[in-house]
Symmetry: C2
Subunit: 444 residues, 2 copies
């Protein structure tokens, strides 16, 4: 049997439609045939040019009338907070946090509740085209378990915070190591990581201990950074320097650090992030809703910093739809800079795919559709009135599409959603369970 | 036969779910029975309290697991521009307008093309929960015809612009009168109106002639106003005053004037709009995407000005989803004012319903669900992962719902969409026709 014939025997074939590869050259292929084998993309052919009918597969998916594209990558979530969605909106930030979110969390954090909240959030994400997320929360093993059960790809970060009390460095090392060793070989889809809440809610000792553990295990380390003006003022008051300078001085900034938000940055701090190859997660809807501010993303990108897109938790957004987040990112910076040319649709789509992959250190595996990469693919149904006519694929996806237009989702070569039906999550039962949790937490 | 028995014989009954009335007291009714008769809301009962089973109707709709609410009111559209959606994005405003939109319009404006574009846009609007729109374009009779055929409620404004050439006042009067008399008695759902493009693209004579015709016929008059800084500069240069002052001085500002955008206003101009009872249409996504600016909506509302919500045309948004527009409106002003308490979910939902109705002079007929009002009602399916749990109906609708969650739409007592199927529009054929038009207009 020839090599070609071998290659043409696949697990899944996707045929028809239009493929946006998000490769380096942003290749667009009309009427493609995509072969998926052993979880990876085996080949991409032009159906018209290559003949392309000499393949076999157990599962042949038609993408006629659709766009085939890489699954979206949500670089910042707190999934279990889905249980607080709509609990306390339109409030001053500190009132929201101290009088609503923290009290809710004090009632809420049982392991089973974290699992169920995460599972509902994952259902929402898969149905809206996200195939990878990067999460940080308490009891992160429960988030990892939900990800494992649902078939989604996840960077799961065990979170540390010094509120109400700090954790001793040796205990941090122990918790971190146990978490990482528990998850690092469980599944190629589950990638353990570590997180600190922020420079103002974690002591230098905590921040350094968690980063040391992340370095030992070579995992991603994420931290909220310069989210509010108040944070910068607190850090200046306490340490006599900005949050970025503080983290640099205690040596936690490197190419495996994901800094989340990065709104209130001086120019020299951006250069610092750039030279240390720190990655940034941009969460525009959360930043708007909490009135935190608007990150200088066009400038960060111009400086060569990798910026991924994220939704943040459902208490501050309030949905996890990355299509909506793309539209907001594209439009927000235009009005902020009074320049309609910044953050064009292509830039934003890259931010939500390949640049998100790079931010998480996964650019060799995901973020584009190319032979050898993992098959993390979504099919977007464009037979919808709001997606016609099709002058530009990128514009339609960023400015007009919504998560509800995704009809099929494949993660690591496994179909996890088809025709809007989740194949691995019992949605009605998880919705019912989260509603019961919500009754315990708050009104309604 | 008693009066009560009479009232209980309906055309349509909606039962179950939760009713958000958007009445003066914002009454919320769990498990209601809503009777619809002769296009109007005949009664609203509590199913549990009033017994409520003594009704009959040809059509009984279950709203279990759903929110029942007034249909959304889109106060500013240019529907046929749906044909330009995605044609030219991320460009400087003047490049966009003069090198892309105007040339496209020069190729595009045949009556049949306007009809088909409008019909596709109406399909999108009905599917995303809009039951009334206020449109302005060339060949507005074609938009009116599409609205009439589709069953949607529409304020259709024949538009006037002095580019490339101005129209003589007597010709304006003639065109306006013919348009209004053609449409004013055709259907209670079709409400003729008049529009001028803007103070900078219409001469004072044109503006005054169109307004005079609007006053004679007692119809709504709308005009783009203070959309860009450049417009204010042009008006100061040409007339030595701001656009608002200019319109006041030529006496076109009154309670039947809808001023669209209103971004660059001085405080005294807001007071002027307030004292003249001018209504405002706020189009946040278009204003963001074109980098026009951000209207001072919280201040306008605080001053007592009626502000409705709108999407603007599809070339500058790019969708017509009023749910997305609500989320953007709620979040944009928070970050602009650095105050997370402004534009709370309830305020935004009122802007998209009852205040939109008032902006169009239709508050006696639509905008809330109350006995005697027209039955313009949507049913939103909340059995979706992104709408669970239900801590707050208003938050969920504004921050998490999308147009795709609307499962049923009733306009003037007629079911126009049910279970996501349009009942009066042949969607596949209209999509195909608009795609053919798009091929004539531009690439792809």
């Amino acid at each position: 049997m020839s090599d070609t014939e071998n290659n043409n025997q696949c697990d899944i074939i996707i045929e028809g439609g239009t493929l946006l590869t998000i490769s380096e050259n942003m290749d667009v292929i009309d009427n493609p045939v995509i072969g998926i084998k052993d979880g990876k993309i085996a080949f991409i052919k032009h159906r018209d040019i290559d003949g392309g009918h000499s393949y076999t597969a157990k599962n042949i998916l038609s993408a006629h009338g659709s766009i085939i594209m890489p699954g979206l990558i949500n670089t910042h979530t707190h999934l279990p907070m889905v249980c607080f969605r709509g609990l306390a909106d339109d409030l001053p930030l500190m009132d929201w946090l101290h009088n609503h979110i923290f009290p809710a969390e004090s009632k809420f954090v049982t392991r089973e509740m974290v699992y169920k909240g995460a599972m509902l959030a994952i259902a929402e994400m898969i149905l809206s085209g996200t195939t990878t997320f990067c999460d940080a929360y308490f009891y992160e093993s429960e988030v990892a378990r939900a990800a494992f059960d649902s078939g989604i790809r996840a960077v799961v970060s065990q979170g540390f915070i010094d509120l109400p009390a700090s954790t001793a460095p040796e205990k941090i090392a122990d918790i971190a190591e146990r978490f990482i060793s528990k998850w690092q070989s469980k599944s190629p889809l589950i990638i353990p990581a570590l997180a600190c809440h922020s420079p103002y809610a974690c002591s230098p000792e905590t921040i350094m201990s968690v980063k040391a553990a992340a370095r030992r295990a070579d995992v991603l380390y994420s931290i909220h950074l310069s989210e509010t003006k108040e944070e910068v003022a607190i850090m200046r008051e306490k340490f006599g320097k900005t949050p970025v300078q503080h983290l640099k001085d205690i040596d936690v900034l490197d190419d495996r650090t994901l800094a989340v938000h990065c709104i209130w940055l001086e120019d020299y701090e951006m250069d610092m992030l750039r030279s240390l190859e720190v990655k940034v997660s941009h969460n525009p809807e959360s930043n708007m809703k909490l009135a935190a501010g608007c990150a200088p993303v066009p400038l960060l990108i111009q400086k060569g910093i990798t910026v991924g897109l994220g939704t943040d938790g459902s208490a501050s957004n309030n949905d996890l739809d990355m299509f909506g987040e793309m539209g907001t990112a594209a439009k927000l910076h235009k009005v902020m800079q009074m320049d309609s040319t910044v953050m064009d649709a292509k830039t934003v789509l890259k931010m939500a795919t390949i640049n998100g992959a790079t931010a998480l250190g996964l650019e060799d595996q995901i973020g584009s559709i190319e032979p050898g990469k993992s098959a993390d693919i979504i099919i977007v149904d464009t037979e919808k009135p709001h997606l016609a006519p099709m002058h530009s694929y990128y514009s339609q996806l960023v400015y007009a599409a919504s998560g509800a237009d995704v009809k099929t989702s494949i993660i690591g070569g496994r179909v996890v959603m088809h025709d809007r039906e989740l194949l691995l999550v019992d949605l009605p039962s998880i919705m019912q369970e989260v509603r019961s949790i919500a009754k315990l937490i708050g009104a309604n």
